[in-house]
């Protein structure tokens, strides 16, 4: 996911929020991961917005994508420069209306924004895990979120949504804890990565691995593999846009010059944009986390889990109401992939709505302010709430 974080021009805001932490799975009760390995203690960073109602029926769970965090909306302090990553969607009167709903967003397991990940201290050695961190899956991330909800006393989720890898978590919830999920909104997502998506992730990972500073994941006491991580981010940004979006945004325009420089400094605006995004990213993200999380996304396959062999089978245990949304110019998770999950839901007699939104901004369209998307989400969640 890219960053498009701006102050909401309407001035509506969820207000001040706080980054909270929950620690569980203390040894000897570590969490057993899908790989069979044990991990503990686990800390999950999370944020909650506004208030849980008396019968705990107004919970909306939001999942961030690859490089996001628990800071979904609002501000950490009065002078904060920018709000959370989905401030245009989450707030009073917005698509996810914090006047009505209690919103929870947590940083994924394996992440580097407060939750336990490869940069966390391994209690066995007293040093960062690095590559000793076990491989985690989308299912493990969901298991950790479930532990957090248990801690918060929430047993029923009115609705859950997320784009991209956030949507994978929503889908995983619906098959892993189906009885807890009243409704879900998978956005710009897929039941499994295509070869194209895996290919881009692998090139991004190889950029990190090829950086000598990566040092097999042992770089926490030395220089970070910033070159590799920034190239990985640049590759990601290409996949988040689209041919049309790039044509409109950059075309062949040159950056602060009228003629080619005839060297390799990067003359085009699109080059300058990618360099800038790469450089900005390394300030906030851990290279090993990037490796682990992209692998989790690549491994995700809703159609192949315990005892399941097809998408139709996968949803056979689900009871949730669904609204699936795709975007016309998304070439990372194209509409046919959303249609495939809608088809599987239909074959199970599930209550599913589907809308393909005309949008030119590629995969990133789900993050950008979009009245159509806000209205769809608002209309859907409100009708689920009224139907309780």
């Amino acid at each position: 996911m890219s960053e498009y974080i701006r102050h909401d021009p309407s001035g509506r805001s969820a207000g001040l929020v706080e980054k909270k932490y929950f620690t569980f799975a203390e040894p000897p009760d570590e969490m057993v991961l899908d790989s069979g390995r044990r991990l503990g203690p686990i800390t999950i960073a999370y944020e909650t917005l506004r208030t849980l109602n008396a019968d705990k029926s107004n919970v909306v769970l939001v999942f961030h994508a690859l490089t996001g965090d628990s800071h979904v909306a609002g501000y950490y302090s009065e002078n904060d420069e920018k709000p959370g990553w989905w401030d245009n969607m989450v707030g009073p009167g917005k698509g996810i209306d914090t006047d009505k709903y209690f919103v929870i967003c947590s940083n994924v397991l394996g992440g580097c924004m407060g939750s336990t990940g490869p940069a966390s201290i391994n209690p066995a050695t007293g040093k960062p895990y690095g590559l000793d961190f076990p491989m985690v899956t989308i299912g493990d991330m969901v298991r950790a979120q479930k532990a957090l909800l248990d801690h918060l006393g929430v047993s029923r989720i009115l609705s859950m949504t997320g784009g991209s890898m956030g949507g994978m978590q929503a889908l995983q919830w619906c098959v892993q804890y189906p009885e807890m999920v009243v409704s879900a909104i998978p956005l710009a997502t897929t039941m499994r990565h295509s070869a194209l998506a895996i290919a881009f992730n692998e090139v991004a990972r190889q950029a990190i691995i090829a950086d000598p500073n990566w040092n097999n994941g042992n770089y926490y006491e030395g220089v970070q593999p910033n070159l590799g991580l920034s190239v990985a981010r640049m590759i990601g940004h290409i996949t988040y846009l689209s041919d049309e979006a790039m044509r409109r945004k950059f075309g062949r325009r040159l950056q602060e010059r009228n003629n080619f420089s005839f060297n390799f400094n990067g003359d085009f605006q699109v080059e300058s944009y990618l360099h800038y995004q790469g450089a900005k990213f390394v300030e906030r993200f851990d290279a090993n986390s990037f490796l682990y999380i992209t692998k989790a996304a690549d491994h995700f396959d809703l159609t192949r889990q315990k005892g399941q062999e097809s998408a139709v089978e996968a949803f056979s245990r689900s009871y949730s109401r669904f609204m699936v949304i795709s975007f016309t110019s998304d070439w990372l998770y194209p509409t046919y992939q959303s249609r495939a999950m809608v088809k599987a839901m239909k074959k199970n007699g599930l209550d599913v709505s589907f809308c393909e939104i005309e949008a030119e901004w590629g995969h990133d369209a789900f993050l950008l302010p979009n009245e159509r998307l806000s209205n769809l989400i608002k209309g859907f969640i409100d009708s689920v709430y009224e139907g309780l």
């Binding site: 249609r339 239909k346 074959k347 589907f354 393909e356 769809l376 309780l388």
Partner: protein, 232 residues
């Protein structure tokens, strides 16, 4: 529930609504902005699904709280198991379908009963226009020029009756109606409907289906009750 006046619904939709049993499961193909489904959901406690190809109309339906899938009706019907619905509605769209026989067969497969309606090309006004002006007719029900009409099939009430007979569909109910210009009000036409009615509305079922039983009964086709529904 948003403000909604059932009387403001198109007259043919009012008749279709009157045919649908409360509490049933209905799919509307080409459901537009969901007027009929919204009425059925709130006044007849129907479990609704719509299929609509235009994004803005799909969005309007979802804003109203309806379950709607954006897509082409011909393709979307394929995914549903047999007898998934009590009624499958195709309102004023039959004349726009490329392969009406195959679509009606699919509708009869996924639903126990099918409701179709279409503008009657045998209406006297249509006949007179062609006879006296020599031009392709343009009427309130068929307001298009030959070059921009979505109505690629022209059929009369008598054609549909013959079609049903030939293809083995069972006509359970027929309403031949004459509507005003905006189609908000109207009345039944019993005498010479093929000349006097502007629309034909039909409730049909498959003769063979109930004699032989459905090919297979998918367990998935039935309504699943969410565990929380029981609690509340």
């Amino acid at each position: 529930m948003k403000d909604f006046n059932p009387r403001a619904m198109r007259y043919d939709l009012q008749i279709i609504a009157s045919w649908i049993h409360p509490g049933s499961k209905v799919i509307g193909l080409g459901c537009g902005e969901g007027d009929l489904l919204y009425y059925l959901k709130h006044y007849k406690n129907v479990r609704e699904t719509g299929v609509e190809i235009v994004e803005s109309r799909v969005a309007e339906c979802i804003n109203k709280g309806l379950t709607v899938i954006q897509g082409d009706a011909n393709e979307e019907v394929i995914d549903y198991p047999d007898d998934s619905f009590d009624y499958v509605v195709l309102s004023q769209t039959l004349q726009q379908v490329y392969d009406p026989l195959s679509l009606i067969r699919s509708m009869l497969r996924i639903g126990k009963k099918v409701i179709v309606s279409f503008p009657n090309f045998g209406h006297w006004f249509v006949r007179l226009q062609l006879l006296f002006t020599g031009h392709a007719p343009i009427t309130p029900q068929l307001p298009f020029q030959w070059y921009n009409t979505p109505n690629i099939r022209v059929l009369c009430i008598s054609d549909f009756r013959a079609f049903a007979r030939q293809m083995g569909f069972h006509i359970l109910k027929e309403a031949t109606i004459n509507t005003d210009r905006e189609d908000k009000t109207g009345r039944y036409v019993a005498l010479m409907p093929n000349i006097r009615a502007t629309y034909g509305i039909y409730l049909i079922s498959s003769k063979t289906k109930h004699a032989n039983g459905p090919k297979y009964k998918a367990k998935a086709g039935t309504h699943k009750e969410h565990p929380w529904e029981k609690a509340m």
